[in-house]
Symmetry: C2
Subunit: 206 residues, 2 copies
Amino acid sequence: MSVRQALLALLEQGPMYGYQLRAEFEQRTGATWPLNVGQVYTTLARLERDGFVEHVLGEGPADEAGEDRGHVRYRITPVGRGEVSTWFTTPVSRTQPPRDELAIKLAIAVTLPGIDVGGLIQRQRTATMAALQDYTRLNRTGRAARPDHAEDLAWSLVLDSLVFGAEAEIRWLDHTEARLRRAAADGRFHTPARPTTTNTEQEVRS
Amino acid sequence: MSVRQALLALLEQGPMYGYQLRAEFEQRTGATWPLNVGQVYTTLARLERDGFVEHVLGEGPADEAGEDRGHVRYRITPVGRGEVSTWFTTPVSRTQPPRDELAIKLAIAVTLPGIDVGGLIQRQRTATMAALQDYTRLNRTGRAARPDHAEDLAWSLVLDSLVFGAEAEIRWLDHTEARLRRAAADGRFHTPARPTTTNTEQEVRS
DNA sequence: CGACACATGTAACACGTTACATGATTTG
DNA sequence: CAAATCATGTAACGTGTTACATGTGTCG
């Protein structure tokens, strides 16, 4: 739903056409989340289907416009404005966060026999630290470095968000590694968990 | 792709049927990411379509099984094993992370006029801190508190991941708030928080 | 017996994503 | 002029998700 809401919110600036929308989106979010042009159009079609936007062809007076000759602009409707308003008013639900692939992967890895969890963590940490360095360099050298326009500030904030997220991930990996070492030192979880009988019976095989 | 890969990986423990798979998944990931049973079957059908699993009806000897009479079990294929292996070997790409709805929302909010960014941040922080407290309480009182089984350890690790993520989010919100205040104090951009905008022309000073 | 959980699916739809077709405009 | 970019879409597919149909077993 992110792209959908984002494009709709951008239309509060005024009617825009497809390529404009993609440019506006990428100015704010940077190269991290590239947006295929085709997706802009499919999303606009769905927004129109739901009554949040309407398209306006060319222009009437033909002299006032000057900027968007022949372009198909999309304009937000009052219903769409309400949707945007609730989007900005309602906090992102942390009660049911999006599935974290890394957390799932590790959670399953520690319950399967024969998985090199240590290596997994190590590889992941290397990859995440590399990404972190990329973010830091971008934040130091790019247009986000010293934002003069609001769009650059936005891009810089997104970069910060990625940095904070990557740092948290690394901390979690370290923390997990330590916990696993302690558990191994305690001699726990050595027995490979054979398929355990879900919720009915407990069967121990060796 | 998370659910798909996770279910496939779980089948390395041995052939299982639908409900079992859901139970195994939820034992490891807890109540955070509930899994609709229907999705298990759709996912299994797609895994079979791609040659990663095959279903086995009932059982041959009819005496060895005992556990799964009449159940439709799914067994991972060699191809599926390869898929799981690469999943565990390849780190999760941080080069193109999943879209962060909160980051996108804030990035757009700071570029639109008339958005109460301060309130947005405040509401989000409240919501995230509430979720954080829930996680902490779960980690202190639930089965994840002192894990004896590997599944409980997994669930505890997932909880840690959520905690680390929520903490990072709060830090980012504070950081963002501070940056916006500084920018507003410098008279840059349009004033975000207060609607008392009496400023005329702003000069950019760094 | 009736309610409820178990168990297996199917149908339909959501958004995200890419590949492709098509034309207009710009530019080297 | 040729190539590239702009611009607008459409078609097709992916996973995720839910609602529903259907039947079996179990338990108060």
